[in-house]
Symmetry: D2
Subunit: 364 residues, 4 copies
Amino acid sequence: MAKYTVAVAGATGYAGGEALRILAAHPAFEVTCVAGHSSVGDRLGRHMPHIPQLADLVVEDTTPEVLNGHDVIILALPHGASGALAAQLDPDAVVIDLGADHRLEERSAWDAYYGGDFYEHWAYGMPELIIGRDAEGGYVRQRGVLPGSRRIAGPGCNVTAVTLALQPAVAEGLVETTDIVADLVVGYSGAGKNLKRANLLAAEAFGSAVPYSVGGTHRHIPEILQNLAHAAGLTAADADRFTLGFTPILAPMSRGILASVSARLTDRGAAMSDADIHAIWERAYAGQEFMVVLPEGVLPATQNIIGSNAAHLQVVVDRKANRLLAFAAIDNLNRGTAGQAVQSLNIALGLPEDQGLTKIGVAP
Amino acid sequence: MAKYTVAVAGATGYAGGEALRILAAHPAFEVTCVAGHSSVGDRLGRHMPHIPQLADLVVEDTTPEVLNGHDVIILALPHGASGALAAQLDPDAVVIDLGADHRLEERSAWDAYYGGDFYEHWAYGMPELIIGRDAEGGYVRQRGVLPGSRRIAGPGCNVTAVTLALQPAVAEGLVETTDIVADLVVGYSGAGKNLKRANLLAAEAFGSAVPYSVGGTHRHIPEILQNLAHAAGLTAADADRFTLGFTPILAPMSRGILASVSARLTDRGAAMSDADIHAIWERAYAGQEFMVVLPEGVLPATQNIIGSNAAHLQVVVDRKANRLLAFAAIDNLNRGTAGQAVQSLNIALGLPEDQGLTKIGVAP
Amino acid sequence: MAKYTVAVAGATGYAGGEALRILAAHPAFEVTCVAGHSSVGDRLGRHMPHIPQLADLVVEDTTPEVLNGHDVIILALPHGASGALAAQLDPDAVVIDLGADHRLEERSAWDAYYGGDFYEHWAYGMPELIIGRDAEGGYVRQRGVLPGSRRIAGPGCNVTAVTLALQPAVAEGLVETTDIVADLVVGYSGAGKNLKRANLLAAEAFGSAVPYSVGGTHRHIPEILQNLAHAAGLTAADADRFTLGFTPILAPMSRGILASVSARLTDRGAAMSDADIHAIWERAYAGQEFMVVLPEGVLPATQNIIGSNAAHLQVVVDRKANRLLAFAAIDNLNRGTAGQAVQSLNIALGLPEDQGLTKIGVAP
Amino acid sequence: MAKYTVAVAGATGYAGGEALRILAAHPAFEVTCVAGHSSVGDRLGRHMPHIPQLADLVVEDTTPEVLNGHDVIILALPHGASGALAAQLDPDAVVIDLGADHRLEERSAWDAYYGGDFYEHWAYGMPELIIGRDAEGGYVRQRGVLPGSRRIAGPGCNVTAVTLALQPAVAEGLVETTDIVADLVVGYSGAGKNLKRANLLAAEAFGSAVPYSVGGTHRHIPEILQNLAHAAGLTAADADRFTLGFTPILAPMSRGILASVSARLTDRGAAMSDADIHAIWERAYAGQEFMVVLPEGVLPATQNIIGSNAAHLQVVVDRKANRLLAFAAIDNLNRGTAGQAVQSLNIALGLPEDQGLTKIGVAP
């Protein structure tokens, strides 16, 4: 079978690199174009020595002319950079934007956290997201929206972790939605290949934990609220019924997000046993290939999901504080970005959903 | 001047080792006895090669006979191991217990989190703790209780981080006390020199973040509640007016705690400007040698306090979530354990409070 | 096609775990038995949470009865533990020993470094090892010995790194063989899941580099000498013509070996240009799927091979010191142990050599 | 007593920062001026938050006018940047150059490794360096050159590690000098606060080991050869009697150098017992406050010297390879740079040699 050709813009960044890492071993795709900016003309091997089979590709300029003509186009560009470009891309190509420009459904949310031009929202690339109920009360998921889609918005990595951790609680009404608190321990690859900030230098990162973008300013917040609204059976316009304290903390690791999310129990939640609440998690993720609900009492560690598209999930009840605690461990670049994107792409193109992906982490 | 002689029990553990590290360079003390268990008879240098000047001390058995006869006795023993021993120690010696046995004032709190024999509480060794108001409305602090004390209970390290982070908010009524959430990113030395758990092995720790003791079970919780009650001008018996969700997360670093603590703003708190709230922090820690309230907008990083007795503190207001966020970065072994103990010891003996201690971190 | 069934002994250790990690996603194998010691009766998921699809396997006892009856048996046991067991295994099973018991051809080498019972040597599982020349002067490799083999000895991880780094120089007579020096920076997973040594605890490993087994005592040395003898066209009995200074240094990472190997240039070597010497490396590894000779001037980094069966290789000439420097970066668990074993297994069974393996590293 | 005033140029870099870290707690000095380039006008606290007591200093421009007028001037500038500036500094000030410009005695060595203007060599700031023998055969050391000196050249960090490791062997004729091999595992702070190289980003450093400046090109080599020549009782002009293979390898840690140095034994060396050779190390460093020769069989770990001016040293004999192995662990910023500079400054000014310095490392 002929492979789908793929162009990757932002190929020398960490998100683009992870897309290449996955696609280089995917049986249905062939990377035929890599595009960048300051790296134009370089062999890709200079920037991505960990992917030997693509080393001889040459980085091209990031223009519609270069990107068009490939079956699939992956945009791994800074927030705000893909909206205008996307308008010039071949309408028949399958385009996945790993940036933020096409994630939000509500202009007001965009204006409050990003500003600048607002672009239409695309099919949201989180297959396991709960977006409603079917006639029998089963969950309807975002997966069903993706087949045949030609424009897909890849979710943010912190967003993915918080959403996967908490959505069963929201879908089942176990927690109050107005006082959710999420602290995330995140690796440095999430900060990007950014040479402007001394605090991203290795010497300053080893042995240090430091928060950033705190106090309600992080631009991932509206996307989380939109997801939680959907999980609750509401629309994006209802996202303001949710309130989220969101604090990411950089820790000395390259990849990985450990999300610790908690919220006050509703009366319904408080009335349930620990086992019943754990069973809700198991049902919420039953049949979801990459979702691993850990046995009761086992807490997720990011090492177990490094390099994989899996999410390790756990729920714990703090009876003294009357709060439900939900944990998720994901690889920010794989499950949080490029792995989830390839999963969505597989679905969009009718390929096996797990093709070219792994749920096995590189541990120890 | 003759130096005070010091015996350290638990000398080959991490907390005991940090006490030795500080005392070896302290002008007023001389370490004259180190005691252990499985290491009895070993040169100390085998276990603590980073302290060359104490290398030739020989580890003795942990008995009252060995420990008595020194001016100061430091107990760095597992929780539950110092209570009975302490009863046999010379009443004139200054004894500091780095374990939990003499921290809690209320037997009910002990029973709920520890169980077993309950021991009397000792003078609590956190000099900066707010414990009331004077006639002019200024803070009364724990420091005043320590001079002349012969029995001191050293606080827990996570406790220290959370208390120092949040106490100004509690003292000033800025936050609701019933829904406090604390997530702490902590280094592995906090888990002790424990060879029973494979997940403390280096190979499993690199690149991984993993929570532990979650869901209201952590034994540091009642101590935090007791402290917050005091900061609010209440007694330990009122600690149940406070509710705390507490989640420690191991991250790949040896030392350091980054505490991210948040609570819903009271009306009084919500009415204040960010600058006014920051000014409350500055006033709460003015004149406290080791407390560093960072300038507005600067967030604490644990690297900046490694090896020091300093705490780096910051407060941020999340207006969208209506929560106050308080951050503290401390070295768990130094400020969180042995540094704070030596500071308390200095006060108890009438020495300069900062003698033998540093507020400078080893960065980068 | 029916899959080959596989039993893994030592399944809860790091080497066994890596074998499981690879086999769980290999299309030709099915893990049907996992065996251990202290973990007998446990769900495998308790020990290997990063491999969700094998989580429900139950650890069995390590006996011939348990291991026999599977098509393939992988022994990931301590040195000295597999020799006697192997004698009781089904002669028709394909057995791979990841330990040392069947690597050495000469009893004298075994006695000098190991002692105890000496076991016959098995087919050595390093496909790329140069073992002679064909009629046209091309390299004969160990790969050719493996097809149909029923007993395979997996090489040591440090051995693999040093051998792959230096063998082109030895095969071509570029260096003196009597004064080879190898320093290796190695990750902690190479030290195993060993709870007896405090210096393997995470708290003592972060931020520290420390050598071990220095001074000619390391038990990997005779195996390297044997390999170099073969690469030079000699027999194992000639290994004493080679002299190796060998110093492994633990560094704060979980996986990875960076071997820095050097030797004095022969006149032949000294007469060659840098480009000609680099070309020898390229020719030595041409067509070897997992061997990546980096472009001149690019040095290998272990991050680029984590989780993969690749070796990244480079050669540099120091004209001032008249030494050739050869570098190799490998993943000690994958290329250094289990990946190389599966590669050998693929060859032994007539499967595609790279099936189920990757040459892509998990970077950044 | 009035304190000496100190100006530090390059104050916001890692070497300058370490000088500030030490001087801020030194009883004989007061930092009265900090100078930089792109940071001019900033509060120092913005760049060095780990030194709270200096936070309110403002960074000034790096000019002779700014630097003159202080008793001591510390130049922590890039190689080549201090030579011209130094000529304009007050001749009565004590100037210490932490860069390379005044280290080499021979212009030919400078031209071969640096090029550009050659500046006169200053008193070399390595007090423990052996530079000859006295009438009784005891070592004469560099310490004796420093009292009263007004111009001091601080040694390089890798140089310090290799020199301290190997000089006893050279002084006693235990090793051949023409085939010395040194591999060094080094932390990222040694690479400086350099935002031009993506491979210094934290995300690319975690979990990775990577060599750099290999093949005889590293500019620290001639300085090592000069030192070894002195230790052998020769002059700098004899440095070409020594040959050094020198390979630094970055490992994932912030501070620390672990030097693994080896050389072939001379007949004299080979005839000695291990104990006799160890005794040579003990005698070579007897009475040297910061030199810690470890007991036989104990190998140095960098964690044990972090934040200190100590060097941990060991010697091992490999009888099979007929090589002597010498190990040193130092903190590159402290003992390797700023600590050693303050030690030299103490000597130059007649202060106690160890004043303001520590030999205790921050471990674990």
